[in-house]
Amino acid sequence: MARKPDSPFQSGAEIDGFRIGERVHGGTMGDIFRVTGPDTGFPLAMKVPHFAPGDSDEGLINFETEANILPALSSPYVPRFVAAGDLSRAPYMVTEWIEGESLQRRLARGPLDPDEIARIGAAAADALHNLHLQDTVHLDLKPENVILRPDGRIALIDFGLAHHARFPDLLAEEQRLAAGSAPYISPEQVLGERSDPRSDLFALGAVLYELSTGKLPYGIPRTRAGLRDRIWLDPIPPVAHAPGVPPWLQEVILRCLEPQPEDRYQSAAHIAYDLRHPENVQLTSRATRRYQSPFASRLRRWWNARHVRPLTRTLPAAQVSAARVVLAAIDTTNLDDERHPAVLRVVARILSIPAEYRLICVSVIAGGPGAERTSGDSSHYLEHLVRLRNWVEPLRLPPSRLSLHVIEAANPADTLVEFARRNHVDLMVLGAPPPARTRVAWWRSVASTVAANADCSVHLVRAPAAAARGAVTSPASAAPESPDSPASRRPA
């Protein structure tokens, strides 16, 4: 679209200290220019929307929404906000220019293999989780809004349709038809709901579907009725389009695409985890489905969906925090450690709070470069896995909620901290340092280092006094705590 000749936004012009460079994108909604300006330490882009001052049209509201939300976000997954021009004078927004290729372009270059899809999907889930924890729902996730950075991370762009739960929602009040990109938006978004973070998880499922099959799960609906189909219609399973889609990937995709938000993943962190640990994905009937559900059940769902209205009123961050990832660190090299049952009791108590959760049990065993053993190629590894399974068995957790990891590493504390960070762990539970005894001194530094360095909350568990005494067999080990281990004192 050609710029109006009288527009101040021309290559070479200067606006509020920003020199306008090359126009890199032009569309009906607006232009994007590369710009240079005050030294920010990163390259800049200027977005200039097309609308006349005083307009109350969609373009203005989208621009205003983005200008409200972007500066409020603190995230490595979105372009950094630099400046915005006065809406009534010179509407523009300057942000960080994100280097990289859009997922749309990547898709056009050719098919992706499941590993690459999982890697991109996990990176996108990381970004969504970060937004959700900041009470923001993107609501327009699609390949063209996902930028693949050279370092493997992704950036989400275009917050023109986003919702920030603590700001007035300018879009919700316009009572327009569902805003969003028809192929990707969730059923509840079709119905006008704009505050459910699980809507982004549906869109992520649609994107993963497209990456896996080259097709869209619901096509490109052109009518309102067509849009509503997704409320009750399940998509053709990806494997029916692309036989190479592994069951775990189909499981993840179809779980994201569940019409009812409560049947989906409850947190993007859980998706990121599954995509990074395909062997841990709990397969259900979704994984092997080859056809859409039978006509009768589709009819029943259609009937039930007649009056479906969305219903969520929790802040996104609170909703996501209710879907917790709990990590229990267990030293399987010391089987008779008296803290093991104590940790188990604490974990049982934590999981008894009604909420969606995932429990990850980790044992870090000595040796190795920190690489995780995921296959049973070592009897050593297998033995520890069995011990870990035996430890957690009394909790009788459904496999979908549980995963077990044995990691060989020289430095257990750093390994746990890094593992927790990568997997969006909310709470780590591990034994507190015991009274000084050389046999288990290894754990002392682990607990204190983890508590000091972890991004998440850390729950240090002490064995009850009686149990601790009962486990002591040699008189020497019953000696009083050494004065140099203050961390080992029992709380008053």
Binding site: S56, D57, N68, R166, P168, A172, L315
Partner: protein
């Protein structure tokens, strides 16, 4: 831009209702949060045990440039009003006897509505300020904002914190603010903020309510400030005012 209100941070305090403890707590909070100017949106009088001290405090602020408008309880001090219930009338009659002539003159001299730059300050609705209409719906908010003719209308009277914003076609929508969040309120839109009550919140939380407006950044932040509400309630009981008024301050109802 030639703008006299830019560069300041404006504290918006309404419905103090003779609650000195709550007023002082909010003023301290606002000062620490960077407030450089103050606006009192009416109802300094009514309900509470410290009318004289509250009026004296606000007078000092007004002498230093603060804005203050009259509320229905302030008016009722000066002339009997049919708008008040029995309990409120008991408190007003007691306060009328307590207040000095100077304080009454100050209340009598307060304007109903003040327009300054892009802001309209009014206790109830700017549509007909002296009718004390409750702005309790988007339609009422629209009426008030339309009469104000300014981008921002700041009011009290309803004792809750709410933010109405204009959309296409001038229609207004309700937003329930989350305390402590700086909400972007760009001036090309119409905004009507009910800043809550300093002295008698009614949402079940006794913490005092007020708001801070930063015109340069176009951000509005609603605050709740815990204060010694038991002390304020005890004073009400000791003054012989209806015990239910003390209970309301304690419970925030």
């Amino acid at each position: 831009m030639n703008c006299t209100i830019c560069g300041m941070v404006l504290a918006l305090l309404s419905d103090v209702h003779a609650n000195l403890e709550a007023l002082n707590a909010c003023l301290r909070h606002a000062r620490e949060a960077g407030a450089t100017r103050y606006a009192f949106l009416g109802d300094l009088a009514g309900y509470g045990a410290d009318p004289e001290a509250v009026v004296a405090t606000v007078r000092r602020y007004v002498e230093e440039g603060a804005v203050a408008v009259q509320g229905n309880h302030d008016q009722a001090i000066l002339q009997a009003s049919g708008y008040l219930n029995d309990m409120a009338r008991d408190a007003i009659e007691w306060q009328r006897a307590q207040l000095s002539a100077g304080a009454k003159a100050f209340l009598a001299g307060l304007p109903l509505c003040v327009r300054e730059e892009s802001i309209c300050f009014v206790h109830a609705s700017a549509a007909v300020p002296e009718h004390w209409d409750y702005v309790d719906s988007p339609a009422e908010a629209q009426r008030s904002a339309a009469a104000a003719q300014t981008p921002y209308t700041f009011s009290g009277h309803v004792h809750v914190q709410e933010l109405y914003f204009g959309g296409a076609s001038g229609r207004m929508s309700l937003f329930r603010p989350v305390r402590g969040t700086a909400v972007p309120v760009p001036r090309h839109r119409r905004w009507l903020a009910l800043v809550g009550s300093v002295g008698q919140p009614r949402d079940g939380n006794p913490a005092a309510a007020y708001a801070l407006f930063d015109p340069a950044a176009a951000k509005l932040t609603f605050h709740r400030v815990p204060y010694d509400h038991r002390a304020a309630a005890d004073k009400i009981r000791r003054a012989g005012l209806p015990p239910a008024l003390a209970y309301r301050v304690e419970q925030g109802i």
